[in-house]
Amino acid sequence: MKATCWMDKRTVEVQDVPDPKILNPRDAVVRITSTAICGSDLHLYNGFIPTMKKGDVLGHEFMGEVVEVGPAVNNLSVGDRVVVPFPIACGNCAQCKREMFSLCENSNPNAWMAEKLFGFSPAGIFGYSHLTGGYAGGQAQFARVPFADVGPLKVPDELPDDKVLFLSDIFPTGYMGADMCNIQPGDVIAVWGAGPVGQFAIASAYLLGAERVIAIDRFEYRLRIAREKANAETLNYEQVDVLEALKEMTGGRGPDACIDAVGMESHAPGLEYAYDRTRQAMKLETDRPIALREAILACRNGGTVSVIGVYGGFIDKFPMGALMNRSLTIRTGQCHVQRYMRPLLERIRNGEIDPSFVITHRLTLEEAPRGYDMFLNKTDDCLKVVLSA
């Protein structure tokens, strides 16, 4: 089959690889109809995530048709149309039982690698380095899905792929970002990052009852989409001082909660970026926490900073004093997608939201390398690239 393979930093190629097979009784094999490139794939593309091996198949946002099921899968049949969540979760362990699916204790055969970096291992993930298990990903024609009796969500035929594909990752991720803010009536939420996840965080904050949502980015086209499609108020950080603006916009109080939908490859004008970029190049720092620092400083006293941007390693100059002295709460995690898929599917069916609003480019699987380049460089006002069979 054809699959998008990571060959080297900034190099992906669509190659011919063997078709996936059932390895375990609870596996299924899915023929992929739609898949997408994620912002976190760019961290792999840019070489920031360790333990990649030449030939690794990428991709963790995918859906399609079940073509084979293992003998222990009783709730799926060949022919079922499913969306597959990106964390691989067994459903049996203590974490899965608590609905912390991205912390599944049984799905990462390379737990020892993650333990070296993190202390304990989180769940296995499709197509996201050997740290998370070395599972082949879903930017391909087929994928093997472990624990198929737990993860994949059956979706109704009347909803086209465009509307449900993002249940695999970015819609639940944005939603969890907003959910972690514990939004109360009247709350003002600030979102750093108007990429696809940020857009869903904005939309979800409104779904969860926020009074106002303020989006922060530097790309005008992304801010425009945030205003027009997600109803946000916007700030361009290259034009205004974000901290001043947020304070003024909220009557001097600060936003009640701040969502970091940027993560480790944060950008800022000026010295701070130069500092972090240099430290990264010297391998003294692995991640750039510029948006995170700002979110912490901007948040009102006693508020919540919700971190859904992906980080891999270590950061410098973390405003711990601000956090502690102002009673801030940080809530974070890789999205526990399985927890949110069903309720969010309901919202899509009810017409409360049409997730396809983030799609700007549709390519074929063979064009994946071009898709990565476009997505990285934001060419042609690129926001979200979907690859079809």
Binding site: A3, L23, C90, N110, G134, G137
Partner: protein, 359 residues
């Protein structure tokens, strides 16, 4: 990495409920819970060793960085030769110091200090014979070195004795004093995992040793003899040859522990205990596995090293994870990079395999 003290006592910390020294189910009040042979630690000796280590580093640095000042201090005439000599001694001092401070087996390094003291005393006595030497300063230096040498001697003897004691101590503990093995074990591992299944289920699954190759990726087969007490273990065979040994059940307390050791003529001498403890709340069962083994020399040793890798503790931990996976989910987690599951350092690329591997 588990230190010897932790392995000896099964305790990572003091305090209520800590470690494995929880009362056995059914133990009579006052009866000591089962635990391996304890060797008491001596904090004073540790402090002395540490002080000597820092002293070594301090003195060594002084000799390296300011040999002229040191020469002056001990009354020896400053010259190029003296300085080179002092720098050489300085390197040795620093190395001794680092060895003492960083190694857990300190005896050798402490003895190296004693050797160094002997050299220092010899050099000082020769200096005393020279007219260029300030004899009163040299005498002070000699007295100082002699004093430190006494401390070094004491520390070296204490640590040597303790190390011998530790090596003779058997993992299986006080209850089997007549079963002491002659060979000391070199590798020790202590790891645990919590399995969300009732203790009876977990014990029963482990107790049937034939289940274990399903779970432990480095094992190929286990055959159990009729009497149920002896078993034959065979590892997988990278590069053609596997390692094999016969093991004997030393102790078995149903739903509590299984202790074993290998018999004479085994490829790998090993012994260990696996303990089953109810996890707090409704979390299930804790499995605590202590394993001691001595890697054989030569080809066999290389095979064992290949199988267990540089970090046997991690290998054992991954085996425990695989055990947990099987008990909780019914399967061992497999990925495209790691198709067998378990500990795998040399990974495939994350691509589907040509052929599914046999289980």
């Amino acid at each position: 990495m588990a230190t010897r003290e932790m392995l000896e006592t099964g305790k990572w910390s003091s305090g209520k409920g800590a470690g494995l020294n929880r009362p056995r189910r059914g133990a009579a009040p006052g009866e000591a819970p089962y635990r391996p042979a304890e060797v008491p630690t001596d904090h004073q000796a540790e402090r002395l060793a540490r002080g000597l280590g820092w002293f070594s580093i301090g003195l060594g640095l002084a000799e390296l960085v300011a040999p002229d000042r040191v020469a002056d201090l001990i009354g020896v005439r400053d010259s190029r030769t003296t300085r080179s000599l002092l720098r050489g001694l300085g390197i040795r001092e620093v190395m001794s110091g680092i060895g003492i401070l960083t190694e857990s087996r300190k005896a050798g390094w402490l003895w190296s200090r004693v050797g160094g003291d002997a050299i220092d005393l010899t050099l000082l006595s020769r200096a005393m014979g020279s007219d260029d030497t300030d004899r009163s300063k040299a005498a002070m230096a000699t007295a100082t070195v002699a004093g430190v040498a006494l401390l070094d001697l004491r520390a070296s003897r204490e640590f040597s004795e303790r190390q011998q004691q530790l090596e003779r101590a058997m993992l299986i503990g006080e209850r089997e004093p007549d079963r002491q093995l002659a060979a000391p074990f070199r590798m020790h591992v202590l790891r645990s995992v919590t399995v969300g299944r009732p203790l009876d289920d977990v014990y029963r699954f482990w107790r049937d040793f034939r289940n274990l190759p399903r779970v432990m990726t480095h094992l190929e087969s286990v055959q159990v003899e009729e009497d149920g007490r002896r078993s034959h273990w065979k590892t997988r065979a990278p590069a053609g040859r596997s390692a094999e040994w016969d093991a004997e059940l030393v102790e078995e307390i149903p739903n509590e522990l299984i202790a074993w050791r290998s018999l004479e003529g085994s490829d790998v001498q090993n012994a260990g205990v696996v303990r089953f403890v109810p996890a707090p709340g409704n979390r299930g069962t804790e499995i605590h596995l202590e394993l001691s083994y001595t890697p054989p020399a030569g080809v066999l040793g290389a095979i064992i090293a290949r199988l267990f890798g540089a970090d046997p503790g991690q290998q054992i931990q991954d085996d425990l994870y695989a055990f947990k996976q099987v008990m909780e989910t019914g399967e061992v987690a497999r990925s495209d990079a790691n198709p067998r599951g378990g500990h795998l350092v040399k990974q495939r690329p994350a691509q589907p395999l040509e052929r599914a591997p046999q289980s």
